[in-house]
Every structure is written in C-alpha cells, then in structure tokens.
Symmetry: C2
Subunit: 204 residues, 2 copies
Amino acid sequence: MTAEVKPAALRLTERQEARRRRILHASARLASRGGFDAVQMREVAENSGVALGTLYRYFPSKVHLLVATMQDQLQHMHETLRKRPPTEAEPAARVAQTLMRAFRALQREPHLADAMVRALTFADRSVSPEVDTVSRLTTAIILDAMGLADSPTPEQLSAVRVIEHTWHSALITWLSGRASIAQVKIDIETVCRLIDLTAPAPAR
Amino acid sequence: MTAEVKPAALRLTERQEARRRRILHASARLASRGGFDAVQMREVAENSGVALGTLYRYFPSKVHLLVATMQDQLQHMHETLRKRPPTEAEPAARVAQTLMRAFRALQREPHLADAMVRALTFADRSVSPEVDTVSRLTTAIILDAMGLADSPTPEQLSAVRVIEHTWHSALITWLSGRASIAQVKIDIETVCRLIDLTAPAPAR
DNA sequence: CGAGTCACTGGAACTCGTTCTAGGCTAGCG
DNA sequence: CGCTAGCCTAGAACGAGTTCCAGTGACTCG
C-alpha cells in the first residue's frame, strides 16, 4: 500500500504531486491566453489554489515554472509521436516531418508556445539543469525520428544539435512575427539536409 | 555646409545624437559588467546624464536599448571584418572562420554578449523592426564572408538563415553554460557544411 | 517682445517578480 | 495527550521596468 506511490523519496505526498499538477495546469492555461506576460505569478498561485510562497517553493522563478511547463508539454508530444511515427522513408525527411508536426501543434497554441520558448531562451544559468532536460527530450525526439535511438555517431549528434538550434531559433523568429510559417518550414527542411551529410554507415 | 549632417530629417540635433551615443555607451559599459541584469534603466539614465523619461523617449524599453546596443557593436564588427576578410579559400570555411572571429570577440566581453543576446531572443513583436535590422546586418556579414555580397540564390539564403539560427542558439547555450566553447565551434563548423550543399553554380 | 511648442528634468506612482514574516495546520513521537 | 518539525497561508515589503505629471528652458512663429 505505502509502496503504491513511486517517487516516495524525491517528490513527497500525492497531495503535493496534485498541487504541482494544478500549478503546471494553471500555468499552461494562463500562457495559452496572453503568452509570457499573461503568466503572472500571483495569478498562477490563485488559479491553482496555493499561496504565493508555496508556488515559489515548487518553482523558484517564473522561468523555472515555464520551463517545467515546457517539459510537461514535450513529454506529451514525445508520447504522441511515438504512437504515430513519421511515415517518410529517408531519415532527413522523417525528422523534417516530425518537426513540422510539432510545429503545427505549437501553432494551435501560439501564446503557449510564446511563453515556453521565450522562457527557454531567456533562462539564465540558474535554470540550466531544467533547460538541459528539455534539450535532452528534444534530442530524443529527433533521434527517434531518425530511427536510431541509440548508437548515433558524434557527427550525427552534432547535426542533431544544429537542428535543435535551428528549431528553437526559427520558432522565435516565427513567434516574433519576423518569419512566416512557410519560412520556418523551409528552414527546417534545409537544416535537415545536414542529416544526409552524416549519413548512416553505408554512405561513408 | 548644411548638407554635412545626413539624418537631418530623422534624427534631429547633433546634441541629440550625442545624447543617444552617451546612452548607448553607458548601456554597453554597464552590460560589460553584470550582463543583462546590470543594465538598469535608472543607472543608464544617470550614467549618461539624461532623465529617465528622456531615456525612454530614445529607447522605449530595456530590450530596445540593448538591441540597439547590439546593432552598434555589430556595425563595428562588420567594419573590422571588412578590413580583414577571412583567409580561407572555401566559402564554408570562410564563413566558419568569420563566425569564430566574432565568437572570440564576444568571449572577451561575455557579460556584454549575454545582455545583447538575451535581449535579442527575448524581444517581442514590438521590437521586430530593430531585431530585423540586427538580422540583416548578420546576414550581410555572412554573405560577405561567402564572397557573394549580391546574387545569392534562394537556396543560399536559406542556408544563411539556418546558419544565423545556429549562431544565435549556440551562443545562448554557451552563455548559459550548457555548451563549451569547443562545442560551439563544432556546431558552427557543422552548419557551415550546408553551404557546400548549395554550392556555387559550377557544382550544380 | 510675447506666446506657443516641444524636448528635457526631477520625481512620484504603478506593476509585477521575488522575498520575508507571522501564524496555523498536520503528522509523527515521546 | 502535548511537542516539535515542516509545509502552507495570507499578506506585507522590496526592487526594477515603465508610466505619468508638473515644471522649466530653448527655439520658433507671429
């Protein structure tokens, strides 16, 4: 019975787990409206039924909160993508297809995307561990799409990093209205060509 | 005589021009110490000898100010690079060399780099025109390095955009301590290979 | 010269992220 | 049963970005 909850050591009571969920939920909801600015800590606290101090105990800053929110969303996305893997044959095309799917998902909640991406790139060193987690999740998604969850070469990892860079930065230009959806698509497809350069063993 | 000053219509008095310079200078100086957080509007105002309200008349927000600071620095960089163009033979290598030079310059003032890059990626739509100027400057620098200041193909422009994405995002990961200098170098070199893919006419 | 206009000044005021304080509730333990 | 430790709440307080306002000085136009 007592062993029913798994994170006994790290994350305490399930009541606390519930609080955490409520907070993340409120955060996402507020973000879905006005974006980064609309996520106000007092509002998040109210909407999730905790005191301001408690909110800060769970997430030491607004950026921490939003990055955690992004983790949460990415996790969903990852699971969804696992269930419906890309249909293309070539690794480059598979990655492009996957990222475009993710992009379309973000388009459905542009304000939420704004809040999360802005937080991610604005994060300073104190948020590094959390940002790193997001980065690892993203890497995993891309590697999955390439069809090599393991055994990537260092060259391939570099290509994946560059793809991630492009992904984040392209999102920002889109969110700030400086690039169109079509442009983002082109950029993604362009960078995915790098994968061909670091092609699977045979091409070497 | 009266034609000596060019921006007669847009930017008024030379006294105003001087104020603007003082503000940008103060901004850069403060940024060189503590980075983004150390650039406090009240301090910038004091240090440049203008009232807070005046500072806001010149730069409608802290982000505007820092993006303008970046414009300023980029302009210097561009001129410097023009004087000492890259020595490599291949376009890809030339671009990589140029960006690594810029990177080394940023390493000399990491706090300033932090302030400028954070502002750039945090900027919202209200700063789009200014951010766009920075982007055009960066594009010009890269095209210069490739050796084709004019007549780039759409394909090449895509590659340049992707290189810019990588450049900004890689800087961020470096600034937030999540990537080493060596890693940034690798990422830059990796993305520059894209140039070979959109090679000059002959290779088509 | 006089009046109006406009940029600039000094400083108060407002917002929102963040921190701090005092007190209350719960849970385990003597 | 009463105590102690921790977590939580309500709310005040502080800091920095941003806005506002009244006043002042300079320049222009009549």
